[in-house]
Symmetry: C2
Subunit: 258 residues, 2 copies
DNA sequence: GAGTGGTCTAGACCACGAA
DNA sequence: TCGTGGTCTAGACCACTCG
């Protein structure tokens, strides 16, 4: 049927991927339906299964297709979902300062969750979490870079070593002591005006701006392990990140039949 | 030498990847040096080239190794650089509201760059950029969600269609009209206190907090194409994103020889 | 039990970089 | 010229899903 052109310099699996990409976009394969099996695609395009699998991999990488062993390759979306990607080191680097900072723990105690905190944690009232409060300092500076409140889930609240000056991210401690793995992190950023109390702790003037950052850490089972809320003085902190396009299906618009 | 164990349920290419991962971490393959060739690795591990390539792919995906055709696979770093990844749709979705917003252009004019703007753009003074100002509205709301200033590079300042209500991201317009491709985006987020003037335009009280977001768009040649600066009232906007671990080399610490 | 995608083998040819 | 990684073929076995 739609054979690939071997004279072009573009790899066959890219040609196959582009064709499938177009066909999904044109609705030939509707969202929720299954693509032809890999063997059928081999026959359709006259290529080997290796080539077909590389092609489908491109679509998976864009979030267009989900592969299900024993079932098939399901179309997830008509248009690409993922276009730009960002990667980063540890969670510490969610903020610019890699591991060149120290968390000075000022308080650490068990806490019955209720009220607005329960909403922030998205858990039921009454659970007992571990609450840790501290100030984070950049190595060479005297003023703190942020005030941090960390909440640890009941399952992990027996964590040890949370005291004094900590140079290791808390989530690493959790991973080490409990053998769990942080699989995902959600982050939310807001702007706020610093109250007199907060401003004093941070060593800045009241009524100035602050960057409020909440990070939620989830384990393999997608359960919340830790919530960390940081407040940064605007004058000492900005959050940077960069994204990059990284797939190969650009500028297609070829003459595929519609 | 270091054969893989076929009795384990973990795929061979993961076993190979983990071994190489450890060997890089232990310094057997120093940063900047070349890994053994794929054929040598085949012999060392007693596996096919397919398996070796899948294994090395894992390392590449973590930024540990760079493949150079005709040269070899070079070690880039001793420890993983990329641990969590985030993907997102268009640049519009850098913010939560996908394409459910409209940019109402209020001004559009050529502008000689100088002073603080030159620093922000990181270009020399004297260049003539196109400056566009507008308010962005969420579809169902009356108050604007942000005030936006967009600066377009001289090469693209002849862009057309920048007026009235725009429902398409500006960078898409650029890609369409000039056939260029946005390859990367840098983003910077700050907190600020809204001046009386800004607050009035946004319809909020003066002295409240605002989220300041600058996005720089770069083309294939890594040249700055567009800078967009948005100011959001804190009460109407927060920035969310999530990251995900997605490699397979976790919890290694097996008994690989050191 | 039939069919799926996941893994894996043993070959092959190519463009490219280095000597 | 030679060896590298990039692409590709034609097979194979497996665990899994589903009827």
């Amino acid at each position: 049927m739609t054979r690939v052109d071997s004279s072009l310099s573009v790899p066959r699996y890219v040609q196959v991927a582009r064709t499938l990409f177009d066909e999904i976009e044109n609705g030939r394969y509707g969202v929720g339906s299954l693509l032809p099996t890999e063997f059928e695609l081999c026959a359709q395009f006259g290529v080997s299964r290796f080539t077909v699998r590389e092609a489908v991999k491109q679509l998976v990488h864009q979030g267009l297709v989900l592969r299900q062993p024993g079932v098939g390759s399901r179309v997830l979306a008509r248009h690409p979902v993922k276009q730009y990607t960002q990667t980063m080191t540890g969670i510490t680097d969610l903020r610019q300062y890699a591991s060149e900072t120290t968390l000075q723990v000022t308080q650490s105690q068990l806490l019955h969750v209720e009220g607005s905190l329960a909403r922030l944690l998205e858990v039921n009232k009454g659970e007992t979490w571990l609450h840790i409060e501290g100030l984070r300092y950049q190595d060479d500076q005297e003023q703190p870079i942020c005030l941090t409140d960390v909440y640890i889930a009941p399952r992990y609240r027996s964590i040890e070593g949370v005291e004094g000056a900590m140079r290791e991210p808390l989530y690493r401690l959790l991973e080490k002591q409990f053998g769990c793995t942080i699989k995902a992190v959600q982050q939310e950023i807001r702007a706020m005006v610093l109250s007199a109390q907060l401003a004093k702790k941070l060593g800045v003037s009241a009524r100035t701006a602050g960057l409020w950052i909440a990070r939620r850490y989830f384990d393999e089972r997608d359960e919340l392990v830790e919530l960390a809320v940081s407040v940064h003085p605007a004058e000492r902190f900005s959050y940077r990140e960069s994204f990059r396009r990284d797939w190969q299906l650009n500028n297609i618009n070829t003459d595929t039949t519609h």
